[in-house]
Symmetry: C2
Subunit: 299 residues, 2 copies
């Protein structure tokens, strides 16, 4: 089992997690969430989304959240932006890293963003251009990399093409997301290999949802391929409103537990992370999606 010696975790709870939670979270709690997460040793905390509140009402307070967080040196706080207008809103409150997103499935992209994949990529061109001029880092997300609720199978060539396009446009890292959580380890590994033939492995991240309980096993298979950046959301929040029966993201606590058990360094204080997950469950008024946090809470 050849594994990377260290993994950088991209904590997506405050964005990908919260945006799909039905309980409305007060702005102050969102700020506290980001600050608690950055205090655990996480080096990347996706803070919020500047997508229109019409589409993501939970994150309508993106500007207030971003302005309210205490930025810790050495921690990156990317924010999601859908287009140049979102980019400008993010920049106005001081964001210096952003993330753009498209699907690998044409059908999903049209339903999700009302645009084809190529149209989405065109929409990002001015964002990437402006970011380069501003010295702003851009992360790219590719969703539905292991299946789509509308078109079913998503060809590996389509995933690789979209990932390559985002990387070629200037994304320093491309995160490959199994949005509906249908993938299993060999499929995840094959997908990663296909993309890694087009984009260098150090520029790739993996992003799994735990809908069918496969997320950690998929991570393990991909770590063996050499990927060293993994997205996760504290307490396993989120899900995908377009995925039937979706449970949430891979829980960061469960990921950290596995990585530390494997001797892979993360820099994250698991106890502090578990405390944050338990606190967030209280805010959301629901059971935690992290088995580690559940086990610790009942200890």
């Amino acid at each position: 089992m050849a594994l990377p010696s260290a993994v950088r975790i991209v904590e997506v709870g405050p964005r990908d997690g919260l945006q799909n939670e039905s309980a409305m979270v007060p702005t102050a709690a969102k700020i506290e969430l980001v600050d608690r997460l950055s205090a655990t040793g996480l080096r990347t905390v996706e803070a919020t989304s500047f997508v229109s509140p019409k589409w993501v009402p939970q994150l309508a307070d993106a500007a207030e959240v971003f302005a309210g967080i205490t930025r810790r040196p050495g921690v990156a706080y990317p924010v999601l932006v859908p287009n140049l207008q979102g980019y400008e809103r993010a920049r106005a409150v001081g964001a210096d890293e952003v993330a753009v997103f498209t699907a690998a499935s044409e059908a999903f992209n049209r339903r999700n963003t009302n645009a084809g994949i190529d149209e989405s990529l065109e929409r990002f061109a001015p964002v990437l251009e402006r970011a380069r001029a501003d010295g702003v880092q851009v992360r790219g997300y590719v969703s539905t990399v292991l299946g789509c609720p509308y078109q079913g199978e998503v060809p590996l060539a389509d995933v690789a093409r979209v990932a390559r396009a985002l990387h070629a446009m200037g994304c320093y890292e491309v995160s490959l997301g199994d949005t509906i959580g249908v993938g299993t380890p060999a499929k995840a590994r094959d997908m990663l290999r296909a993309v890694a033939s087009e984009v260098p492995m150090p520029a790739l991240a993996i992003h799994f949802h735990d809908t069918y309980g496969q997320a950690l096993a998929n991570v393990l298979a991909c770590l063996e391929e050499g990927v060293a950046v993994v997205d996760a959301a504290v307490s396993g929040t989120g899900g995908c409103p377009y995925a039937r029966g979706a449970s949430g993201n891979l829980a960061t606590e469960d990921l950290v537990y596995m990585l530390h058990g494997l001797g892979v360094a993360t820099g994250v204080d698991l106890d502090a992370l578990v405390d944050t997950g338990a606190w967030l469950s209280g805010i959301l008024g629901r059971a935690t999606g992290s088995r580690v946090t559940r086990a610790r809470a009942s200890a």
Copy 2:
């Protein structure tokens, strides 16, 4: 990823699952559970336990359950027996496969069975002897193979020694159980390797609990070592009353989903299994512990 082409799943829900559920399950429902499980294509369904009702009140109706099930040709129905007396009770209702159990942790075995490991093994000697004369197959369980709530670390040599002893006494298969679910993939693999140096791999099974969400990842790591028998419990029932914050066994549905995704044959009809898991959750009056069943239920 070299994987076995087929895996035999040992369904332990009616025994290891139910024995640790607090809701008392009617005898008729237990019988229906076993019959539903055998109808899914599972080839081994552990039916009940002949441990004293004083210790496992949930399974006090072991004889009625075993006498009530419809035995399907080609399906094995092992039952747990603690000693010769339990063996005889099981035989009286027609059991032709039994299982014996001990821990790899001396501290755990003393607390759990009020006997040292060697004493447990001695207690099984007449069971194994009688079983051989009766033509009854015996499966052996070793618990706490990746950690103990009382002594903490469990040396690999201890696990290997106990597994070897059970195999040498005549157990056709030895199931290695992470009773408190603390293990991670590399540790699980190392443990399996240590045992496989003493007991042939085809005589080994793995048994993981999902307390910390690691069970499927552990299974994946062990499949890569060549193990081809995996224990699981439908709907992720059970847990371990001695493990703080224990959630249940690995859910059979989630295991089957992964195996089929990996192209590993199980002979199990996943849809029928999910139906059974959802039905059992209703009987237990609690949410399913299987993410697959949860996802399908909300579809």
